[in-house]
Each structure stands twice: as C-alpha cells, then as structure tokens.
C-alpha cells in the first residue's frame, strides 16, 4: 500500500520548488471524499505532486458472501454495491443469472426494468450534480437536486417499499407490477423534469465561476480514457460514444429511442454536460417505456416456466416449523440445482459499465461471483487526473468521476 513518508520524501526530493513537500491526509472523514475515500496527498504549496488513494474502508466481502447464498438471496447483496442506484446493480446480477439458467424474461418485466434503471440513473445523476455543485461551492443547486431526487425516491417507495435498497429486479423479471398510481406519478414526473434540468442549468451553466472551475480541469483524451479503463459518462465526456445500452442492448433498450451524448474536450465541464444531457435522455426513455407499458397491460412480470427459482421458499411452505435447537429456520425446499457453467453480463450503470461474471459448479449457490464496478476503476484513474492540479481542483475531479465507495470496496 504505497510508500512510507520517508520513501516518498526521498523519491520526490528535487521535484518541487521547495526542498520538502507538504503531506496531507484527506479523508476518510472528509466532507468531499464522498464516503470513506482516503487520499494521501503530496503537495507543493497547493499543487498536487502525488495523490495516493487508499480504499477498503467499506469492504464487506460481497463477492465472497455471495458464494454462501443462493442466487435469489444474492440480489439483496447487490443493493449494497452502488447504493445510489441499486436497481442497476440488481439488473446486472439478474442478467448474469438469467443467462446462466437460460431464462426468458417477459416483455413487460423488461420494460419495467428499463424504467427503474432509468429512474435510478436520474436519481444517481441528481445526487452527483448536487454533491458536485456543493463541492465547488454552489450550495443552492444541492438542495434543488435533492428536492427532485426526493420525488423519485418516493415513487421508488411506492414501487417496492424501499427508497435506496430496492431489490426490485428479480431473477427472471421484477418483483411486482406497477400500480396505476405509480404510472400516474411517473407521467407527472417526466412532464416536469425537463424544466427542472433547465433550472439547474440556469443556476450554474452560465456562471463564470463555475466555468472557470470546470473548464480545462482534468482533461482526459479519448485514448487516455480508454487506456485508463474509464467507462460511462467519464469516457463519453472524452468523446468516445461507448454505451452498453447501445452496443449490447439488454432489457428493453433496443425498443426505445435515445441518443448517447458525448463531450469534446474531456474536461470536468464536458463530463458535467454529458450527465446533464443524460438526465434528459433518461427522462425520454422513461416516457417511451410508460407508453409501452399500456401495450403490455396485464402480461406477467415473472416467467412461469421456472417457478422453483422464483418463489421464495417461505411462500411454498406456509408454516415453517421452529427448529428445537437452531430456533426459527426455513424448512422449505432449497432453490433447485442449476447446471454447471458460467455467464457474463454487463450493463450501463449510472457510474459506468457494471459487469458481473458468475460461475456455477452445479450446486444452488454461485461458485464464484466477480463484479467489475466502475467506481473502482475510476478511483484508480484519480492519481493520473489529479497530478499537477490544485486541492480545489481535486475536489472537482473526485466529483466528476462520480465514485461511490460502496461500489469500489464491495
């Protein structure tokens, strides 16, 4: 884990204008490291010579834990990865499992998944805009974004009873259908939301200070972005039009029309513009999906050919008998054994490309589950981006990468 103080000191000697660089430890308890990111900074005045991110403060062993749970139970773990957009994680897990089982997802369930995925994208981007603006000092944008995010979270609560950890997407489909009230709420939301995006833009988009703080900061060229492994809005900000939704469409993304916004210069401002445009595109997708929902009225949201996989054990055995020694346990049938094999699925999560690789050894639990999360890769790109910038820019760079530590530490 990095170099010790003395080593760094002797290594960097002569690189700065002063003999001794200034070391500062930023985080894990710092207002703008977005959770528990810890950065070990080597400074020359306020200019960053070296930035060494230390992660692992939120490590919960999700991948290992998944090996002890059956496939349905793993969905709950996926909520805790990128807790800002848990529906996206659910979808990635389910897509991989469905490939493994060879399940067909009903059309209505695919549309519903697309809607919740785009809702998750909007709420994630709103939280990103809120904190990014707050980090740069624009306090009011923060609260405006939270106002609208609150609206979305309330809709999520109506959909699945949870505001953050949804577990709404299930293997084979979704947990339950939307009620009419939810559809009405979503219509109302999509009606108003473009105006709200315009409102945020009027607050900061033409603000001279905002432009000075974001333009030409942390410029990443397209080649650099690809070689650093960046994905999502960060990659598209550099002008690479890569979007999993277009390249390998999943769910109902092949049925809807949307554009993939890209940037030109690959600086903080372009990435901000890309995300703002994505807010509008997501809104458009939700709108189209809502219209498709009326076409598929009454269709099932879970496939009928694999009931054993989908129904939780507790439902099948209505009276679980208390175990004399272990207390209350489920006595229902275990989830049936799946054939050995492996499957890979990747989706466009709000943060970037989220991929899941699962290997089955023929039992009812995954033998190995590997998650490729965007935040982890983005944090590893942080030292490259931050070098030569000032502390104030570092805050903007952390914001522009949009990292969630639950996603990176797993």
């Amino acid at each position: 884990m990095g170099l010790s103080l003395v080593e760094v000191n002797s290594k960097q000697r002569g690189a700065s204008s002063f003999d001794e660089p200034f070391y500062i430890n930023m985080g894990p308890q710092h207002p703008s490291t977005h959770g528990v990111l810890r950065l070990f900074l080597e400074l020359d005045g306020e200019t960053i010579i070296n930035c060494d991110p230390k992660i692992g403060y939120l490590h919960r062993g999700v991948e290992k834990l998944a090996e002890t749970l059956n496939y349905n139970q793993t969905i709950v773990l996926s909520d805790r990865l990128d807790y800002i957009a848990s529906c996206a994680n659910n979808t990635a897990f389910c897509l991989a499992f469905e490939k493994l089982f060879g399940l067909q997802v009903p059309r209505r369930a695919r549309i519903l998944r697309t809607i919740v995925n785009e809702m998750a994208r909007i709420s994630s981007h709103l939280l990103w805009l809120a904190t990014h603006a707050l980090d740069i000092g624009a306090m009011t944008v923060f609260l405006y974004c939270f106002r609208d995010r609150e609206w979305l979270l309330n809709i999520f609560e109506k959909i699945c009873g949870a505001r953050l950890t949804h577990s709404y997407v299930r293997v084979g489909g979704v947990r339950q259908d939307f009620t009419l009230e939810i559809i009405e709420d979503l219509y109302k939301f999509t009606e108003v939301f473009p105006e709200r995006v315009l409102e945020y833009e009027t607050l900061i988009d033409v603000n001279r200070i905002w432009l000075e703080r974001t333009k030409n900061i942390a410029v990443v060229s397209a080649e650099e972005a690809i070689s650093l492994g960046l994905t999502g809005p960060v990659l598209r900000g550099s002008g690479v039009p890569y979007d999993v939704r277009k390249f390998r469409p999943y769910d109902a993304y092949d049925e809807v029309e949307f554009e993939v916004p890209i940037g030109k210069n690959g600086d903080v401002y372009d990435r901000y513009r890309v995300r703002m445009e994505e807010l509008r595109q997501s809104n458009k997708i939700i709108r189209q999906c809502l219209e498709k929902l009326s076409e598929t009225e009454g269709e099932p949201v879970l496939p009928e050919n694999a009931p054993d996989l989908l129904i939780p054990e507790r439902v099948r055995e209505p009276e679980p008998k208390p175990h004399p020694k272990k207390g209350f346990i489920f006595t229902g049938k275990e989830v049936p054994v799946v054939p050995p094999g492996e499957a890979f699925a990747s989706i466009e999560s709000p943060k970037g490309e989220l991929a899941v690789y699962v290997v089955s050894d023929g039992t009812n639990k995954p033998w190995r589950l590997r998650i490729r999360t965007p935040s982890f890769v983005h944090i590893s790109a942080l030292p490259e981006l931050a070098k030569g910038h000032m502390i104030a820019d570092l805050i903007a760079i952390i914001g522009t990468l949009d990292v969630v530590l639950g996603d990176s530490d797993r």
């Binding site: 200034f22 070391y23 500062i24 710092h30 207002p31 703008s32 306020e46 603006a133 707050l134 980090d135 740069i136 000092g137 624009a138 306090m139 009011t140 609260l143 405006y144 106002r147 607050l203 900061i204 603000n207 200070i209 905002w210 000075e212 703080r213 000032m390 502390i391 104030a392 820019d393 805050i395």
Partner: protein, 329 residues
C-alpha cells in the same frame, strides 16, 4: 495629569455609549445569523430554523448557550497562548470599526480625522487572527487555510484601499463624518452614482476581506474541512463566527457611509432616528447572503488573478479618472 469632572464625565459617557453600541451590534450579529439561515432556506426551498421559539426566533440564543456549554478542547501540540489569543484578535479587529461609523448626524462614538484609514488598518489586522490561528493549531488543514487567508487579504486590501481613495478624493477628507456631509452637499447626493466602479471594487474586496462566498477559500468547507478554525471548539469557535459577522456588518456600514449617503435618506422620518442607515445596512447584508446562496467558490489562483489582474488595475484607472475630473471640474 489631572482629571476635571468634565473629562471624567466624558469618559463615562463614552464608555456607556460604547457598551450600548456593543450590545446593539451584538444583537444585530446574532440575528444576522438567524436572518442568513432563514433567507438562504427561503432561497433553497426549505424551512430553516423553526424549533426554538415561534418561527425559530430564539435560535441564535440557543446557539450561543450551546456553544458556551461545549467543552473547550485545546488539542495537543498547539501553541497555547497564540491559540487562545487568535479568536480575540479576529473579533476585536472586526468589531472595533463600528465605533467610527457615523450612525446619525453628529452621532458617532469616535469622530477622528483619519477614520477611514483606521478602519482599513483594522481590517488588515483582522487577518492576523486567521493567520495566527492557522499557524498555532498544529494542523495542516488549518495551516493551508491560514496561508490562503493571508494571501487573499493582502491582495484585496490594495484593491479596497484604491476604491476608497477615490471616495476620499471626491470628499477631500478621511473623516467618515465629513465624507457623508460631502456626499449630501454634492449634486449626486450619494457617491454611488459617480463612483459606481469604485463601489463594485469595494464590494468585491469586502466579500474577500470577510472571507465570504465566493471568496471563502480560507474556510472552504469542502476542501479544507473548515480551514483555519478546524481545531477550535466551543466558545472560541463562536468567536470566529462572531468576527466574521461583525466583519460583514462593518463592511456593509462602511459601504453605506462611503457610497450610499450614510444616515441620510430621500425624506425625513421623524421619531425613528436610524431608519435610513439601518435600511441601507440591511439591504447590503441581504446582498451578502444572497450572493452566498447563489455563487460557487473561486479557486485560489483564480482569486489572486481576479484581484491583481482586474480589480487593482481597474481601481487605479478609476482613481486616476477621479483625480483628473476633480482637477478639471
């Protein structure tokens, strides 16, 4: 040295009126924090303090009580005397300026001839509080905050002095009382009209001098956590806050005096002596708060660039033009 009863009388009067002024301004500062929270809440579509008393009106009092009861933590490794003195330096330097502001015709606590210079000197000194606290805290964040503050105050001091010098040129006096009188006798009634550029420079510098958004770099919460007072707690922490708000009041009062015609108004309102002065003061304080709710924060080098490359040349040109016009007209 002998004390006549008359001079003793004068001393007592001065002391009593100073105490009254202090209490009144403390009251203002306390409720300025309340007003700020309420106004920003309004702008941001939330409620603001509303628990203590009706509409949260007693919130400042609750805050003060809470801060007094907090444990006064002195971290290990700090330079104790400096650590203890720094908040007082800040507060005294920020608050003393009020004594020189003419609140009403012939109503000024200390009417002396270089009042404007004295206020400028005090505001320069108040940077010492910030620098000393940053240095004495034995914390790197605090040190960075202190360094930022010293750079900022030094560069904006010049711009502010230049803008005020044009006012001095117009009025022909450093005495604040005379500046107000000169404004009233001038055809414009307020110096805001001929000196609009100077007012702009003054206001931007005042924002920087009091470390307010968009120049709140020394205490940038999202970068340096809290900057120079990150190690302070309890009442010492409160003193820094008091100093900041005193600074806002003094700068606004100075702007009212030098640019907005001081205590005079378009018409007399009998019975309410400080009406116009307070109205103008509150208006400027409102702008302070409004700016805070609207703008992001500058970066350190951009801030210096703005000060040295734009405000100071602009101030010099303005000063030169003022002198030229004064000579010709």
């Amino acid at each position: 040295m002998e004390f006549s009863s008359q001079s003793l009388y004068a001393i007592i009067i001065t002391a009593v009126s100073a105490l009254v002024l202090l209490l009144v301004s403390l009251f203002h500062v306390a409720y300025l924090t309340y007003a700020e929270r309420k106004i920003i809440a309004r702008i941001q579509q939330r409620l603001g303090p509303n628990r203590v008393g009706p509409r949260g009106i007693l919130q400042p009092i609750a805050d003060v009580l809470k801060l007094i009861h907090k444990e006064d933590i002195i971290p290990s490794g700090v330079d104790r005397p400096v650590f203890a003195i720094a908040p007082l330096v800040s507060l005294v330097c920020a608050g003393t300026g009020l004594a020189l502001i003419p609140l009403w015709q012939n109503f000024v606590l200390s009417n002396f001839n270089v009042g404007l210079l004295f206020i400028l000197a005090l505001s320069s000194l108040s940077a010492y509080g910030v620098i000393l606290s940053g240095w004495a805290s034995n914390s790197r964040y605090a040190l960075l905050g202190g360094l930022r503050a010293s750079a900022q105050v030094i560069s904006y001091e010049i711009a502010m002095s230049l803008s005020l010098l044009s006012v001095v040129l117009m009025a022909g006096s450093f005495n604040l009382q005379d500046i107000v009188k000169a404004q009233l006798e001038s055809p414009y009634k307020v110096y805001l009209i001929p000196q609009i550029i100077a007012f702009f420079i003054f206001w931007v510098s005042a924002l920087a001098e009091t470390n307010r958004v968009p120049f709140d770099l020394p205490e940038a919460e999202t970068e340096l956590v809290a900057g120079y007072f990150v190690e302070y707690s309890g009442i010492r922490f409160a003193l820094f806050y008091l100093a900041e708000y005193f600074g806002m009041v003094v700068m606004s009062a100075l702007a009212v005096t030098c640019f907005l015609g001081g205590y005079a108004g378009p018409f007399e309102i009998p019975g309410i002596p400080f009406f116009w002065f307070l109205i103008k003061l509150y208006f400027l304080l409102f702008i302070y708060i409004w700016i805070r709710a609207t703008l992001p924060r500058y970066r350190y080098d951009q801030l210096m660039g703005l000060g040295w490359k734009i405000l100071i040349p602009l101030g010099l040109v303005n000063l030169f033009m003022t002198a030229l016009l004064k000579l010709l007209l």
